[in-house]
Subunit: 242 residues, 2 copies
Amino acid sequence: MRYELYYWPTIQGRGEFIRLALEEAAADYIDVVRQPESEGGGVSAMFDFLTGDDIEHPPFAPPILKAGKRVIAQTSVILMFLGARHKLAPTGDNGREWTHQLQLTTDDFLVEAHDVHHPLAKSFYYEDQRDEALRRTENFKSERLPKFLGYMERVLSQNPSSRKHLVGGRLTYVDLSLFQIIEGLRYAFPNTMTRVEPNYPLTLALHARVAERPRIRAYTESEQRIPFNTHGIFRYYEELDD
Amino acid sequence: MRYELYYWPTIQGRGEFIRLALEEAAADYIDVVRQPESEGGGVSAMFDFLTGDDIEHPPFAPPILKAGKRVIAQTSVILMFLGARHKLAPTGDNGREWTHQLQLTTDDFLVEAHDVHHPLAKSFYYEDQRDEALRRTENFKSERLPKFLGYMERVLSQNPSSRKHLVGGRLTYVDLSLFQIIEGLRYAFPNTMTRVEPNYPLTLALHARVAERPRIRAYTESEQRIPFNTHGIFRYYEELDD
């Protein structure tokens, strides 16, 4: 069975967490919206899920994964599903839920990383909320970023099995997700990250190890990896990174 | 086994979604932080989980549920756990994940309902971000609220088993959560809700049926139910509800 991923075609966004898990698992998948319209691709393929009235489990928003007849949305639910099928999560209830819990905390942080540049509304231009973005970013850098990275560092340091992974003694999808968060933060806040990274040695070591995994490295160095840009969740604006 | 719930003692907040599920299940639980310090209660009992270095699965934030030796955080993970144990969710993987997916969408909406009054930072006073709150609220009422309630209405109308429940043919925890969202919206935006409620008849009918369930009614009419107030997630400010 070939998985079908539906996500915005020009940004990494939330879809990237799914892509990283699929790539690490060497799973057979197609990034549908990035295919030509003539071959069933394009955004209309995605909108059919968002508006169709004959879908058993209608999604609220992308990313959406189609696995056979199943249609699954919400990044963390898709990852829980893939984690179980591709050995990217523990098999017991306890470990499976803990991995998922960490992913949800990552998802929460992602909303905050987005809202620094869009504190008032997704649908307003950045330029129309720049002053507010400056105020929110200041708080993000002084309080929220250290709180989140400090938490992940704490989880790594307290993992009884290994300080090299967030959960247990081997790679899970939430290790990949933390890698991606660091990638995004480095793009959006290069100066800030240069300053604060030494505070989180276990987190950064995890990032470096994930970056060197053969399949992840092959993927991130390929044309398939959409470059970060100022349409995505993580955005670089010089004035927000002092 | 008696469950232990740890949450802020003076607001409904995210803890209320857990309380409603526990009440509907008639589960044995104690709301620990609301007990006297002399009996092991108070916020220090909660902070021990947030700062302790000997916790296998350290929580990032409350609500936290202790179930025997297990410590679980993230509202939706706690509900998934309780749903499986108290027949408040389907038993199969597919239905269980779908219920959880809807809960996550509810959680996402809750963040937006909070950020209308705190668009710049949780740690700034409302009075210092009132102008920004006005702008964000306008967008929330015109775009986000209709998008979320319209989605839930769509899920109800497309449920092949019953238009009386979000999932399958019987009550799940996400029905309780949607009830709570309507409760919060009616408190925070009474005029707005009076205007828009006729657009969501299935959602409002579900709210009314949940309100009349004997255990929910006994709970919401009791002293145990903390009244909504301007410290919680849903807040009433006259200027935000025109």
